[in-house]
């Protein structure tokens, strides 16, 4: 007993003196790896964006100044891709949040087969983007083999060639289908956490189904909706596989978003310098969006 008491203090002083130096030393490897992982590609992209660097034209090389950026902003494709990116992100957010909220409220009601319905509703999230895009392209939207075409024909209507006539809307439909389950999942848990006495109190106060939804459920969901919007925005800015598999950015540039534009510059035109400039623009854009999102959502989260 005595021995342990006399021995304890030195152990303690070592324990408090050590961590500053040793702890930092132990942290160093992971910090270095993480930094390298982030900083090296960023600096390289930044560097390439100021270089003439085309893989099929090695003759023109060297410092380009702002030329890559000048070409980029004077390229009509760039502005179209920026517009397409924003339309895609905005539309998918609206579709997933609106339908996610309604489905969450619906799936919170007891009905026979609810658990199976929930699993079915959530399963699209587990299908990888290339696969779901292919399913939509070949099994659903194809004017000849697709289900939609068959339905149209059964009503005696001309089948719609979706990717030719409504290319961006088709992409939006596919991406929404993939992300709706995510919104549903988050919002359903939020709906379930709503205190049922609150809803009963609202009923006693004379709130009908719609008033309960507007005044009780929706405010309760606002925080979860913020989370859905934030997370989805981050991922939707970089949608690529769905476009690559279905339309390859076409027809023309109708479905080219920023991510696909960068890909096309780098790996179809082999213009590394131009692609890097596009990449830097994408980083700036993502950071602007992130800044506003985080600021507005952080305020809402601190309830």
């Amino acid at each position: 007993m005595d021995a342990s008491v006399t021995e304890a203090p030195p152990v303690e002083t070592v324990a408090t003196a050590m961590p500053r130096s040793v702890g930092r030393l132990l942290l160093l490897p992971s910090v270095v790896v993480l930094l390298a992982w982030m900083i090296v590609p960023l600096v390289m992209t930044l560097w390439f964006s100021f270089q003439y660097y085309n893989l099929i034209n090695p003759e023109t090389a060297g410092f380009a100044g702002l030329d890559n950026y000048r070409y980029l902003v004077t390229d009509p494709d760039f502005w179209v891709s920026l517009e397409n990116t924003l339309i895609l992100v905005g539309s998918v957010l609206v579709v997933t949040v609106v339908f996610g909220t309604l489905l969450a409220v619906l799936f919170n009601q007891p009905f026979p087969g609810r658990n199976i319905a929930r699993v079915l509703a959530i399963s699209p999230f587990f299908v990888m983007p290339t696969v779901s895009a292919l399913i939509w392209k070949n099994l659903l939207m194809h004017p000849i083999y697709g289900v939609f075409g068959a339905v149209a024909r059964s009503f005696g209507r001309q089948p719609v060639d979706w990717f030719a006539d409504y290319p961006l809307a088709s992409i939006i439909a596919i991406v929404s289908w993939e992300w709706l389950p995510f919104a549903l999942l988050i919002l359903l848990t939020a709906v379930q956490s709503l205190d049922h006495e609150q809803r009963e109190a609202a009923r006693m106060d004379g709130a009908g189904v719609i008033a309960q939804f507007v005044f009780i459920t929706l405010p309760h969901l606002s925080r979860a909706i913020s989370v859905v919007v934030m997370i989805e925005t981050i991922f939707l800015l970089t949608v690529f596989a769905e476009i690559f598999v279905t339309t390859s950015g076409g027809p023309g540039n109708a479905t080219t978003n920023l991510a696909f534009l960068i890909y096309a510059r780098a790996l179809l035109q082999y213009d590394i310098g131009g692609a890097s400039a596009g990449g830097i623009v994408a980083i700036v854009l993502a950071n602007i969006v992130a800044f506003f999102l985080v600021r507005s959502i952080a305020r809402r989260l601190e309830v």
Binding site: E197, Q198, A201, A202, D205, A207, F215, P219
Partner: protein, 367 residues
């Protein structure tokens, strides 16, 4: 004006009946308390009155009008929930004015009514705050305020004080009684806490497993419990129950023999009980006195000193647990052997079926 009539009210979930036919009349401006152990159906009954639960059978009338199928908002009732159920994203003012807003009452009138309710409940400084910035007692008052602004015919309270600490609970009890007087409204109050029931009620309804055990004024229930259940449920500490047999059944009272052989004359009608019938003798803890010459002896197992009062926990012969309430100044210590005398007026007799035998005279305070 608001009277309530319950006629053979029933509620089943599937084949499981939780409310098994309740008949009850509630008069205007009455403060009625539903009390009973958890699971007795008291909250379900309240929610049926509120309209939050469907009525399976029977009839519910408010002011003589059948309201079985009237929606909760149109019954003219207001309810205060156990968890308060305040709307967290609304200020106190918005919370209290929500019902009026839904009813499209003009803003000026809405504000006037909210201000009036806030004045009654001393909530004026908090009107622009949100529920999370309020203490438990203040939230409770907002919940009551939300009920008051609707000027309901009947107020319903579902265990409203159970989330408060003891001191605040005592304070809110007084406040609710004051409110009942000030608002002059009919109130129905559900609780499992018999102190709340005893102190606030005009009329207590004791429920057990979906049935009414007894209806009466607090002292009526205390001094003339209808059966063993009510006798054991009302009163703290619990009434002592001793097995006994009827020794003599006379017109001036009954003489019972305790297990120890001691005989005791009690002023209770024997009715159909014959000598030799087993009965239960009930004695409240304050009906027993430490008395070396008393007819009962017991060992003190535990002494709880509350200051003004002292509770003695005893082991009587036959392994019988008993509780006695005595003066705080009494020097009796644990493991003493003491004699006890019984105040015959404070005793009760229960038949084997659990039904109480009637006293010869009524207690003066139990009208």
């Amino acid at each position: 004006m608001a009277t309530l009539t319950l006629r053979d009210l029933r509620k089943s979930y599937g084949n499981f009946e939780v409310i098994k036919g309740i008949d009850l009349a509630i008069a205007d401006k009455e403060f009625v308390v539903f009390v009973g152990p958890s699971g007795c159906g008291k909250s379900t009954l309240l929610r049926m009155i509120a309209g939050l639960e469907d009525i399976t059978g029977g009839e519910l009338q408010i002011d003589g009008r059948r309201v079985n199928h009237v929606g909760p908002a149109d019954r003219g009732l207001a309810m205060v929930f156990q968890t308060y159920a305040l709307y967290p994203h609304m200020t106190v003012r918005q919370n209290m004015g929500f019902a009026l807003r839904l009813a499209r009452v003009p803003k000026a009138e809405r504000d006037r009514k909210v201000d009036e309710a806030a004045r009654i409940l001393q909530l004026e400084p908090y009107l622009e705050r949100r529920p999370k910035d309020l203490s438990g007692g203040q939230r409770q008052r907002v919940a009551i305020g939300r009920a008051i602004v609707r000027q309901p015919k009947v107020f319903l309270f579902d265990e409203p004080l159970s989330n408060l600490d003891a001191a605040l609970r005592g304070q809110m009890r007084i406040e609710l009684s004051r409110l009942h007087e000030e608002l002059n409204a009919t109130m129905i109050y559900v609780t499992h806490d018999q102190i709340e029931a005893m102190t606030m009620a005009d009329k207590i309804v004791v429920l057990q497993s979906g049935r009414v055990e007894q209806v009466g004024s607090p002292l009526d229930l205390y001094h003339h419990p209808a059966n063993l259940f009510v006798a054991g449920f009302i009163g703290s500490p619990r009434m002592n129950f001793l097995p006994a047999t009827v020794a003599e059944a006379g017109s001036r009272g009954t003489i019972v023999a305790l297990a120890s052989g001691q005989r005791l004359a009690v002023p209770i009608e024997a009715r159909s009980a014959r000598p030799g019938d087993p009965v239960t003798l009930g004695i409240r803890p304050e009906g027993l006195h430490v008395d070396p010459a008393g007819p009962l002896t017991a060992d003190v197992t535990l002494v709880e000193r509350l200051g003004g009062l002292t509770l003695l926990h005893l082991k009587a012969p036959g392994d019988q647990d008993m509780t006695v309430q005595i003066e705080g100044s009494d020097p009796t210590r644990a493991h003493d052997r003491i004699g006890l005398s019984v105040d015959p007026g404070a005793t009760h007799l229960f038949e084997k079926s659990g039904q109480a035998l009637p006293h010869l005279g009524r207690h003066p305070l139990a009208a």
